[in-house]
Amino acid sequence: MRTLLRKLGPRYGISLGVLVLVALVLVVARFVGHPAGSLVTSGATGGVPSATGPSDDGSVAVPSPVGPVTSPGAATPQKVADDFVTAWLRTNVSATAWRAALTAHSTTRLAGELADADPQTVPATRVTGPFAFTDHTASWVEVAIPMDSGTLRLSLLAHDGVWAVDTVDWSPS
């Protein structure tokens, strides 16, 4: 290993080391990550500053993590994400009907971004695994949804405890 690294030179050696570390962290993070459904009671801190110890005039404390808050009678972020995904994948309708179905679960901002969107650009046909809720605060949730040709990532925002999808990201596999 050492001779290999020496051959590669210090810059590449360090890059390789960093890549291996990142890979390890990602794999470990995936395994200790929050299973789907643990959202309401868990207390992930990924979305909030996590600086600890002395930090001069920067951030010193860890704000207490808060779970997503849903108004009584309103749909949970899980339900809103589920309904959005169902509508997103239902492309055998008119473009107008497809956009209207999405807009029903979208923030005003996202509805604007989808105003001219073409349903024929939906690159997947079905969900292939559980929804993974990756990060959240009281009013913001991120969720990754494995699909047959990639991963859909949504973020949801709550306004007065009423949830709506705000961003739609796609990574092809």
Binding site: R11, I14, S15, V18, L19, V22, A23, L26, V27, R30, G46, G47, V48, P49, S50, A51, T52, G53, S55, D56, D57, G58, S59, V60, A61, P63, W88, R109, L110, E113, L114, D116, A117, D118, P119, Q120, T121, V122, P123, T128, G129, P130, T137, S139, W140, A144, P146, G150, T151, L152, S155, L157, D166, T167, V168, D169, W170, S171, P172, S173
Partner: protein, 379 residues
């Protein structure tokens, strides 16, 4: 068949299906890991590539037919297609921000490959670098499969988008692409910036909206999509001998000066952090001082590529909210001296690898120089 064996058969079949599904999901998880890893790889290489020399902000025309540089994580086909995108932008006198947007869009749509019809699994009749559709009026299949034609069509639509030079990259790209994934383009901004810088000798560090490739300065936004949060003198540097745990830079500016988001991103924290030295809570609406601890009123923003920025000591509650998407240069609050501050300034931190802790902090000065948004003005 008697009842017993039939039940056994059902149980076995159910088990087999369950195992198959489980394996499928597990494989999907691992594939997911690899794609995450791939996305992050762009970040790692961009922080380990040779820094561009000062004053390198793009030079000469890119010739796709000439000798092209190698770019870690990209094949020569991908680099060639990126060179065509930059070359067409230069010929059409599109300012360099457009090159970064176009390269990022093609990274999302085709991974910079000139994709033929891929069958039903593909987006129906979508073709080429930008996955344009003949049935939606983008051109004939043969035209769209010509990278120069496809790129020209992309730029023609982009420059008609109102305010495209200062919109977040993903918003500008979506106005052209009209896809079902409007926020997908943002994550490619760091790699697109690296590609444009490598092909042109630093054009992503030029002011994004100017054709003449001027090294970016002041409060303008670079083609990379970065700008300074506050134009001001650096009164305290990153982890100096006197302040080894100072994980950012202090940018001095008069009380009430607007603090701007350094790049597009999502606001991940807004709050007040101030205590007495004994740990008792203290107001952020009053001036702090050395007898207090904390960042005061502050904002944290997550950007593409696992970059996090933090802005401390605002005079009053920040004017953005958690989850809000902000554009580069958008005001997020005002300079003050809440928390541990002896005078009005913006304590500005940059973190990498999505790590908001001290371990993830890097020196903002070289980082911002590389982005074409140098912090600090000479006293």
């Amino acid at each position: 068949m008697r009842r017993g064996p039939r039940v056994l058969l059902y149980v076995a079949a159910t088990l087999a299906i369950a195992v198959t599904c489980w394996v499928g999901v597990t494989v999907a998880f691992f594939l997911g890991n690899f794609s995450d890893f791939h996305a992050n790889a762009a970040v790692i290489t961009s922080t380990t590539t040779t820094p561009l020399p000062p004053g390198a902000c793009g030079q000469g025309a890119v010739d796709p037919a000439g000798d092209l540089p190698t770019i870690a994580s990209l094949t020569s086909d991908q680099v060639h297609n990126a060179a065509i995108i930059v070359h067409v932008g230069q010929n059409k006198a599109v300012p360099p921000r457009g090159w970064v947007i176009a390269v990022a869009t093609a990274l999302q749509e085709s991974r910079l490959y000139n994709l033929p019809y891929l069958g039903k699994k593909n987006d129906h009749d979508s073709l080429g670098l930008f996955q344009q559709r003949p049935s939606m009026g983008w051109g004939t299949p043969a035209q769209i499969m010509d990278p120069v034609y496809a790129t020209t069509k992309f730029y023609d639509k982009l420059v008609k988008v109102k305010g495209w030079q200062t919109l977040p990259l993903t918003v500008a790209a979506q106005r052209v692409q009209r896809s079902a994934f409007p926020d997908a383009y943002a994550k490619h901004e760091p790699l697109a910036t690296q590609i444009v810088n490598t092909l042109t000798g630093g054009a992503a560090r030029a002011t994004g909206s100017l054709v003449d490739l001027t090294c970016n300065s002041g409060s303008n936004i670079a083609a990379s999509g970065w700008t300074v949060p506050v134009v001001g003198r650096i009164t305290s540097g990153f982890r100096t001998p006197q302040r080894p745990t100072h994980n950012g830079v202090d940018l001095a500016a008069p009380r009430g000066t607007a603090i701007h988001a350094a790049a597009a991103g999502v606001v991940t924290f807004v709050g007040c952090e101030a205590t007495t030295l004994a740990g008792q809570p203290y107001s952020c609406d009053k001036d702090g001082g050395p007898q207090y601890k904390g960042c005061g009123w502050y904002v944290q923003i997550a950007h593409a590529g696992g970059i996090i920025t933090r802005y401390c000591h605002m005079v009053s509650r920040p004017i953005v909210t958690i989850g809000q998407l902000v554009a580069a240069g958008q005001p997020i609050g005002y300079v003050g001296m809440s928390g541990d501050a002896t005078g009005p300034h913006c304590h500005f931190e940059v973190h990498i690898n999505g790590d908001g802790s001290a371990a993830g902090a890097i020196d903002p000065v070289p980082f911002m120089n590389q982005q074409g948004a140098p912090v600090g003005v000479r006293a």
